[in-house]
Symmetry: C2
Amino acid sequence: METKERILKTALDLYNEQGVHTITSRHIAAEMGISAGNLHYHFKHTDEIIQTLYNRLAVGFDAIMAAVGAASDINLDIMKEFVSRSLELTYKYRFIFLHFVEIGLRIPAIRKDYHALTQRREKEFLAIFDKFKADGIFKQDIPASVLEALVTQIFIMGDFWLSNNELTGKLKGSKAIAYYSGIFASMFYPYLTKAAQQLMYDAN
Amino acid sequence: METKERILKTALDLYNEQGVHTITSRHIAAEMGISAGNLHYHFKHTDEIIQTLYNRLAVGFDAIMAAVGAASDINLDIMKEFVSRSLELTYKYRFIFLHFVEIGLRIPAIRKDYHALTQRREKEFLAIFDKFKADGIFKQDIPASVLEALVTQIFIMGDFWLSNNELTGKLKGSKAIAYYSGIFASMFYPYLTKAAQQLMYDAN
DNA sequence: TTGGATTTAGAACAAATGTACTAATTATTT
DNA sequence: AAATAATTAGTACATTTGTTCTAAATCCAA
């Protein structure tokens, strides 16, 4: 693996473990056994490392969304798959979510990009919910404003379940993902028709 | 106002505006027009300032919870009042929530305290939900696991609505509080009985 | 008013940080 | 093999930070 890639990998590990403001370029270099000068040959500014990692996260999410878009029919199983993949990706780049506001302040480009992203995603989610209504998965009589609020809830939960985990239980890896996947599933439950609720409980 | 109190006030303002890792004891002193030496006479360690502010937040929340406990009957109006007061307090000490993980890492005592707090609160919420069920406010047929998940949702939403606001809309003050109060109300909607749903919509 | 306590300013310090610079080493191309 | 380019280590520097120390100023009680 070339040095540049090793820097990114080491940075990701250290950031995930100790947070973005604790870890400096010197820490990353030391951990790798290279000089700080060398590191800064590959990344002139430390922020570029964070920016690059964020970009990879964004690309990863695009891939997940593309998979949902490619599905011939969007149903609850597809959504489950979507949730599970999203949580895994989130966990892989968890330092970003654990320090999202801090990073957004430090690198405004990231905040702007994220903001644009959520606006796109909001429409996509509302379209999916419409389809769920039409297909008898979601109840018919839910006000539009409640569904819009649900989208915001999904964003907040998706972005900060890791912070909640950090502040409370501190479940690790797949255990955390499994637990919060359950939370996400429960989140949808009261919006489902009786038939869909049955289906969900049979599945477990 | 004595110097110590002015330090706390200035620190709160600066932390809220610029985050906890950007603002140093020197910044706070400079903003007040006092020397850094003087500041450190009142607070030997900068972390003590953060700790003190966190304690005040915790006391504030206890007061809000006490008000709920004192109510003769817990109904949706009481809950609305609870949400609105909580959001206001959260906004007042927003730097804590905007940098919760960071602060929890920096001052472990805060994380421990918060952790203990949520465990107490979880039971309180579940008791309230039980009462809502008995009183025909919540639907009867909601599985216990779904209600437990709802409590976690409430915690995550309560702790991170401000971070979501920071990363996206950046609504200010009362506008942010009003918007996210609406999100919280919608969050409960699908759990309510038809009668309670009607009541909620009449109220608006 | 005098003497002790409290409060304050300002200087000083060690550690850490981001990054630039230089020179050496290594890799690649011709 | 020679020339050129890429990579690397190591040094250096200005800035910032938390904190300590000293001495002056201010306050307060007797």
